[in-house]
Amino acid sequence: MKSVVTTVVAAADQGARFPSSSDLESVQGSLQRAAARMEAADKLAGNYDAVAQEAVDAIYSKYPNGQGRDMDAGTQKEKCKRDIVHYLRLINYSLVVGGTGPIDEWGVSGAREVYKALSIGTDTYVAGLSALRSRGCAPRDLSAQALVEYNGLLSYLINSMS
């Protein structure tokens, strides 16, 4: 899976060369930012249920009837939360890896086709994820740099759905 380290190694392998000092420098650069990413990943792993619930509440205050195929309101809300948790998990993975690889491979790719087939507008997800992006607050929830990393991935996901 794509991360800074695997990209560097793949490039070195392509040229059949040992890792050079510039390769090591770019890995070092990614390790320096890693502490903030790990913090965000840790907090998200511990609180994802509450975070997802906030997103679901934001979605249903904007779209009281929800979206999608006919089903009872309770089931629909449950499935909505399941999806948000799924996206939060991918954000957690991307924070760990230090790149958007997991979001790209397991979230974005094919999403448009799936949601079209199920007649769900992505604007509901955008509403929920945007609420999370404005809700996060440093240093109350997590440190400033960790919040930057977390919001960056939320924005990436929102852009991919807009």
Binding site: M1, V5, V9, A10, D23, A35, A41, V96
Partner: protein
Amino acid sequence: MLDAFSRAVASADAGGKFVGGGDLDALKSFVAEGNKRLDAVNAIASNASCIVTDAVAGIVCESPGLTAPGGGVYTNRKMAACLRDGEIVLRYITYAVLTGDASVLNDRCLNGLKETYSALGVPVGNTTRAVAIMKACAVAHVNDTNTEAQAGSKFRTMGATKGDCAALTAEVAGYFDAVGAAIS
């Protein structure tokens, strides 16, 4: 290809779990010890040619039959192929050390190597011995424990700050052992 981080993600995803708690602690120490790892990669890569030549010269000294007609490195062509392979193996080991995961070594280097060597008639015993010499040499460079008595005129120390590198050394040695196990 996976690294230590994507390995954690891949196993968490298999169970639909978030990466947190103990898994994250392991990665945090990977990050905290990152500079040691980079120094280790640099120590091996900077001395690669020396490590490889030493290993091949070593097996030739120990088994003189190798350079005799019919031997494993008889003719310059075979000797050159042997040196090249030593360098390739060592290169993939540096990749594994850098990523903190054996997948690049396994997928791109060791997969099918045993079959290739047996088809080419490469002697297994000498090959594993060469890998063992590379291991001793690389570990000595990583820890800066090589001595003038061992290295003679080629003696060189990296001079990195000393510290506890036991875990990293064991990891590096493990990759060499994996190569030995894969070809025997």
